[in-house]
Amino acid sequence: MSNETVLPVEVRDPIGFHARPVGEVVSQIKASGLDVVIRRVGEEGVVANSPLKLLAMKVKTGETLEVVVPADGAEAEELANIIAATINKEAP
């Protein structure tokens, strides 16, 4: 078993995964120093260290993403949870 933490998150923001949450997610990931990947289920996804890469995914409301933290344990889970919450930060 590889040591990674995968957390699925449904995008509930009415305008999808857009620029502001993308910017915050990138800041959080850069601060963590880890190569966190965000992907659609079954896809390779992107290392989420650049807003452009995430914006180019054009993620719409209702899609499910996976946040993949390349570590396991409580800290990795916490980071995944923080990122998932940020993705839906502006959701009603």
């Binding site: 910017g23 807003p51 452009l52 914006l55 180019a56 054009k58 719409k60 502006e90």
Partner: protein, 146 residues
Amino acid sequence: MADLLQLAGMSLDATASSREEAVRICGQLLLDLGAIDQEYADAMWEREQIFPSEIGSGFAIPHGTDESRQYVKFDQLVFVRLAEPFTWENEVVEACVGIASQGDGHVELLGTLAELLMEDGAREFLLESSDAEAIRQVLLSGEFKG
């Protein structure tokens, strides 16, 4: 329905020396196009101060607040290239795409912009071409033939 980006909403050599000036130029273009009321233009600067809109690769995407969306009359983007790029908040910005949107109509085009900016040739074209119509077509179609 008008295109999301019109020639009248493009400036290829805007003069701005601060974030506020650049954001206000975007707001004024949207006002001139009739896409927004003044309240939305003001909200673009409010939003900018709370959360700088730079997205990397020399671009920023000024836009209003959720509460100001009621002052958007129709979805519209403007393209403002700076004659003299300057440091926005953390990075040097060379061009802005100002956004007026009532919903998610702009998200697809922003995704397209992001894809284009990751291709070096397309990015250079957007920042250097003097052909506004060609830039407009590339942004609307997402297709760049280098």
